[in-house]
């Protein structure tokens, strides 16, 4: 699938030969071999001598005081080695730990519990069955307290105050605002048309197929602590363990082996990890803790739970003048948001979207409730999906109000290519974009005009069919040191490349793949920059003893940060290679021309040295004055975020008898700049769209008035199977990032960011002629059927 380059003049990438397999090649993945043969090494596959197992005792109540914990019966069970409670941890100052966002959370409950499934005690036993038995025998006496699950009631004086540990006795966490309120208010006052939508991005959960877990191995003899961890950010976790547990950082080794999916769920540090670490320190043997799926869904990092209101002010021709946004963020019992420190609402302020207008104002209030803590960035840059969903819904509602075609309304308002770099009214500088290019391609691929005709015909017959568009822009690759840090650590990333005498290479990066194919894609970057065949390049990530420091993989940041670092390190190597080549060829450096894989003398192409020959010379025939070896390391501080974008179009048919929505066709046109491996990009799009489908139609982590969680197992939290998942039609346009070393932007999350709005827009479009303007996700058949019933349409 060749991408049409729509912005010539930006970073051009020349394709290498298939043998070298640099950028743009559909190289088959190097990591597949072991996974296909069942030889992956996931955390639960780690088996160490004398290893024991941990199991968590959890609260059934959403809000209750702990009157007593009686572990006597549990302790007596043969095979039980230890039972740790909050009281025990408190003695080592570990009952609470800092979250990634200026708050703290209980490791094991002390005093009271604040959400159903909260960790109360940790049992360690010889095998996992005994540990589970023992957990059942731990008797906890609770005194139930009134429960708060409605975020809108959080600041009600009648609501219980959840966090007694905080100085300020309030359930309100933060208020954040950005933009020009006065200018925005004025634009609204003067506007001919005002439209409004209240859209909920419901609480959902990334649910990677592998749950979270660790093997904590304290070696008394060496005093070194190895933690095999499901971690998307091993170095950050190492530093946090050092700071929180007071362990010397040089003695901690975090190993993220193969990770079975992350999607943001494996960014926080969970109580189970800390308990396993404490248990191993105490018992001196490896302690394995692997959570069950129920525990994963009910207690680990949830996503979204943003209750948003957006207003757009426009003139009567549909030109948007301003946007006003007010959002209520439900963080659960602790603010465990995984976000850069300056952004309590993440990058939500990209909610102005792909559109060109001068004024906007956005405010977000965060509150506590008796729910699991969070929220994390589920396959999106922090809060970007919420933002993209909001603006794309708002634009569709405006189109309805104006009785304008939603594609035309978007086209009218897009930021034009020549306006980039574009400063949005809420403070972001988009690097490059060609929104109309993506829109046009998507409209063509889906056959928009014919579909609208078909819809008209169907409406006359009373049949329900809808077309929904989402033209999203997202911001990824966090991020520049001047603005971005997580828990104080700046968000650079790294790559270290070492070339061996025979011209092969090993690289290590500070990121950590959970399925994104880094072992292949980074090798392709090295192949592109140095002409060494990608198959000759080994890529390693995840071992903090060997990999250079990095902030990990999430928020689509790997290609923008470590990918860039890889290119920069490779270029440093190329600089040294030039010196060695000049020495070998007895020419001056300026007279050498580089072609992927070799230097040759200007005017004498026969006088050349391949990179392999140069590598060999680096160890055997070292130029005087130069150090031996051929390697480099780069820590890359990106000058800006990158802004991938696209247009997605969803076509749905609704069954009037059952309310079931069938996605008949879905077109996804993405622009992530220059592409490393188109095959991998397609795979990412397919996967992300499937997650978006689930969020739009099937998923919610809900809480009843007593704080009981629904959607706490896969019986109720639905993951689409191959049957529900439609066929995805994908396409690419290419608008390189002007500031990235090879013009790439990152793409893994775009499909999850852009698709929920497309799905919802298509369902609303199917029903808009009946007066429906908005339906909140998940759009279940039951919801649709009730709307149809209300309109007198049930078949």
């Amino acid at each position: 699938m060749a991408a049409e380059k729509t912005s010539p003049g930006l970073v051009e990438v020349e394709k290498t030969s298939p043998e070298v397999s640099g950028m743009g090649h559909r190289m088959k993945r190097k990591e597949d071999s072991r996974f296909l043969q069942g030889r992956g090494n996931y955390v639960d596959d780690v088996n160490l001598p004398h290893m024991v197992y941990g199991h968590m005792v959890r609260s059934p109540y959403a809000h209750a005081r702990i009157k007593s914990i009686n572990a006597e019966a549990a302790k007596k069970l043969p095979g039980v080695l230890a039972i740790i409670t909050g009281e025990d941890l408190a003695k080592a100052n570990l009952a609470w730990m800092p979250t990634l966002f200026f708050d703290k959370q209980m490791v094991l409950a002390t005093g009271k519990v604040l959400f159903q499934a909260q960790e109360v005690a940790f049992v360690v036993a010889e095998d996992r069955y005994i540990a589970a038995d023992a957990a059942e025998l731990v008797e906890v006496e609770y005194e139930e307290l009134p429960v708060l699950v409605d975020p809108y009631k959080a600041t009600d004086p009648a609501s219980p105050i959840l966090r007694e540990d905080r100085e300020e006795k309030s359930n309100h966490i933060f208020h954040w605002e950005v933009g020009d309120k006065a200018a925005t208010d004025k634009a609204f006052a003067d506007a001919a048309v005002k439209s409004k939508v209240h859209a909920i991005s419901q609480r959902c959960h990334p649910a990677p197929l592998e749950t979270c877990g660790c093997v904590a191995d304290y070696n008394k003899a060496t005093e070194r602590f190895t933690i095999y961890l499901t971690s998307q950010a091993p170095h950050a976790h190492r530093t946090l363990f050092a700071l929180v547990a007071g362990l010397p950082e040089q003695n901690i080794r975090v190993v993220s082996p193969d990770i079975g999916g992350g999607f943001g769920n494996k960014v926080p540090i969970y109580p189970g990890y800390v308990c396993a670490v404490v248990a191993s320190l105490t018992l001196g043997v490896p302690v394995k803790w692997i959570e069950t799926r129920s525990e994963n869904l009910q207690s680990t990092g949830f996503a979204r739970d943003y209750h948003m209101t957006a207003e757009l002010a426009a003139d009567k021709d549909g030109k948007i003048k301003a946007m006003r946004v007010k959002t209520l963020a439900d963080h659960g019992a602790f603010n465990a948001a995984a976000q850069p420190t300056k952004f309590p609402a993440g990058l939500f302020s990209v909610c102005t979207g792909s559109y060109d207008y001068p004024a906007a104002f956005c405010e977000v209030d965060g509150v506590y409730t008796n729910k699991a803590p969070g929220g994390i960035a589920y396959r999106c840059s922090f809060r970007i999906t919420e933002a993209a969903y909001l603006i794309e819904r708002a634009v569709d509602v405006l189109a309805l109000d104006l009785k304008m075609d939603p594609a035309e309304l978007r086209r009218k308002n897009f930021i034009q290519p020549e306006k980039f770099p574009y400063a949005t009214p809420l403070g972001w500088t988009y690097d490059s974009g060609n929104y109309e290019g993506a829109l046009n391609k998507a409209l063509e691929m889906v056959g928009y005009k014919e579909l609208r005709k078909e819809q008209e015909e169907k409406r006359k017959k009373g049949e329900l069919m809808g077309i929904g568009i989402s033209s999203f822009t997202e911001a990824v690759g966090a991020g520049p040191a001047h603005t971005f840090d997580i828990a104080g650590i700046k968000m650079f990333d790294s790559a270290e490349i070492r070339i061996h005498p025979t011209g092969k290479a090993i690289c290590r990066m500070g990121t950590k793949s959970q399925g994104q194919g880094h072992e292949t894609t980074y090798a392709q970057i090295v192949a592109q920059e140095l002409g060494i065949p990608a198959k000759d390049v080994i890529v390693e990530e995840g071992d903090t003893d060997t990999a250079p420091y990095g902030l990990g993989t999430y928020a689509s940041r790997s290609t923008p940060t470590s990918g860039a670092a890889t290119a920069m390190a490779a270029r440093k190597i190329r600089d040294k290679a030039r010196k060695i080549a000049a020495f070998l060829l007895e020419a001056s450096e300026e007279d050498l021309i580089w072609e992927p894989g070799k230097f040759f003398v200007r005017g004498a192409p026969g006088k050349a040295k391949t990179i392999q020959e140069i590598a060999f010379a680096a160890y055997t025939n070292i130029p005087p004055g130069l150090e031996a070896g051929l390697e480099a390391i780069n820590y890359y501080d990106p000058p800006n975020l990158t802004f991938p974008f696209g247009t997605y179009i969803s076509v749905v048919d609704i069954d009037k008898g059952t309310g079931e929505v069938k996605v008949r066709k879905f077109v996804a046109v993405d622009d992530c700049g220059n592409v490393i491996n188109p095959m991998i990009v397609e795979g990412q799009i397919h996967g992300g769209l499937t997650e978006g489908l689930a969020i739009a139609f099937m998923q919610e982590i809900g809480y009843d008035e007593n704080g009981n969680v629904s959607g706490g197992t896969f019986m109720d939290y639905l993951v689409p199977t191959a049957v529900e998942t439609p066929h995805w039609d994908t396409g690419l346009t290419c608008t390189p990032s002007p500031h990235h070393p090879f013009g790439a932007k990152g793409v893994g999350e775009s499909p999850n960011v852009g698709s929920p709005a497309a799905f919802v827009n298509s369902v609303v479009d199917a029903l808009s002629h009946l007066g429906v303007k908005h339906i909140d996700m998940p759009i279940t058949p039951w919801k649709v059927w009730n709307i149809l019933k209300e309109k007198g349409l049930t078949g």
Binding site: D32, Y42, L209, F263, R293, T690, V719, T721, T725
Partner: protein, 161 residues
Amino acid sequence: MAKKELIHVKINGKDREAPAEPRLLLVHFIREQLGLTGTHVGCDTSNCGACTVILNGRSVKSCTVFAVQADGGEIMTVEGLPSNGALHPLQEGFKEEHGLQCGFCTPGMLMSSYALLKKNPKPSEEEIRWGISGNLCRCTGYQNIVKAVQYASKKMAQGGK
């Protein structure tokens, strides 16, 4: 803890035996007693299929079978996909068509596909989707998995075993 029984199985062509208490799940028996960690656990309600193995010729979710139920039986796990030294056409198909990303669902997916192709060597796309509907994947969106199974079906029809 109840008394352990010695369970005998023929797994991936080899005779193996190991102790198991009555409530030990087959998936734990395979992973821990027999040391074959290719089969994975992805949920606790029998929904995800990551634990799929072939037991006495049929695909089963090994998290919902007790080890004692498999006593005397024949098991095939992903480690035993017949290969004659090379990759099985299914494994080849998954690689060629990019049918895996994180790899966690892959063993179960391969076993379900294997069982499907045994029953129905030339499945349509719809039959493939139904055939693997007991296996959840969060990464691929299934599209390339379908292509992988089609690749294998074609190759096996041409005689490539």
